[in-house]
C-alpha cells in the first residue's frame, strides 16, 4: 500500500493503539494489498477516552467492559457490585489499555 496512505491512516488512528504496536501496524499495512484500503478505512474503533469516562461514571455496573466487548467480564463486574468496588477502581487505570488491545484485535483481522 502507498506509504502516504498508511501514514495518513496512522496519523488519524494512532490514539486507538498502543504506541509499541504502531510500528508493527505500519509495516504490515505497507505490504498489504491496496484493495483492502476501503475495508480498512471503515473499521470503527473504540475510543479509549470514552471508555475511561464510562468506566468512571458507570464502572461499578460493568458497562465499560460491555462497551469494549468483554461481555463475560462485564457480567462478572455487574454481579459483584463492581468487584466490591475494588475492581472498579483497578479498571479506571486498566480500561484504556484494554480498549487499545481490543482495537488491535479488531484491526488484526484485516492485517493477516
Amino acid at each position: 500500500m502507498d506509504t502516504q496512505k498508511v501514514d495518513m491512516f496512522l496519523m488519524t488512528n494512532s490514539k486507538f493503539f498502543e504506541s509499541h504496536q504502531l510500528n508493527m501496524i505500519r509495516e504490515r499495512l505497507i505490504v498489504l494489498d491496496d484493495s483492502k484500503w476501503s475495508m480498512l478505512s471503515t473499521i470503527q474503533f473504540n475510543d479509549p477516552t470514552t471508555s475511561l469516562i464510562v468506566s468512571i461514571l458507570a464502572g461499578s455496573l460493568g458497562i465499560d467492559r460491555f462497551m469494549i466487548g468483554d461481555t463475560g467480564i462485564g457480567v462478572g463486574k455487574l454481579l459483584t457490585c463492581g468487584g466490591f468496588g475494588i475492581w472498579t477502581i483497578i479498571d479506571w487505570f486498566m480500561i484504556q489499555n484494554a480498549t487499545r488491545e481490543k482495537n488491535m484485535q479488531k484491526i488484526q483481522r484485516f492485517l493477516y
Binding site: S60, L61, G69, D70, T71, G72, I73, V75, G76, L78, L79, T80, C81, G82, G83, F84, G85, T88, N97, A98, E101, Q105
Partner: protein, 138 residues
Amino acid sequence: MPLDRKKLYSLLIISCLAGYIWLYYSIASTAKEGKTTYGCLLKNLANMPCPSCGSTRSIISLTKGNFDEAFGINPIGYIIALIMLVAPLWIIYDMIFKNNSLFKCYQIIERQLRKPKYAVPLIVLLIINWIWNISKGL
C-alpha cells in the same frame, strides 16, 4: 490482553476465593455485631442500592435453606451461588483431564449474550430488579 484459558481460570479462582472469604466474614460479623456490612461502592457513596446489592444476604439465607427469603432479597443471589458452586469444581475437572470445556462454554455464552434477543430481555430484567431493590430499600 485477550482473555485466554489460563487468565480466565485464575480470574475465576481468585473471585470465587474472595467470594467465600467475604461470605465467611459477613456471616461472622453479622453473628457478632448483628448488622450487615456493605461492600458496595454505590451503596456506600450514594446510599442507593445497585442491581446486585443484597446478594450476600441472599446467599446467606440460601445456606440456611430459606429459598423464598433468598429470592425476596435478591434473585441475583441464586446466579452467584450457582457460579460459586459450579466454577471451582469445573476448573478442577478441567485441570485433572487437561481439558478446556469451561473456557469453550464461557466463549459460547459470551457470544450468545451479545445477541440482542438475549441481551435486551436480560437488561430489562436487570433494570426491573434494580427498581425493586430501590423500592425495597436494601
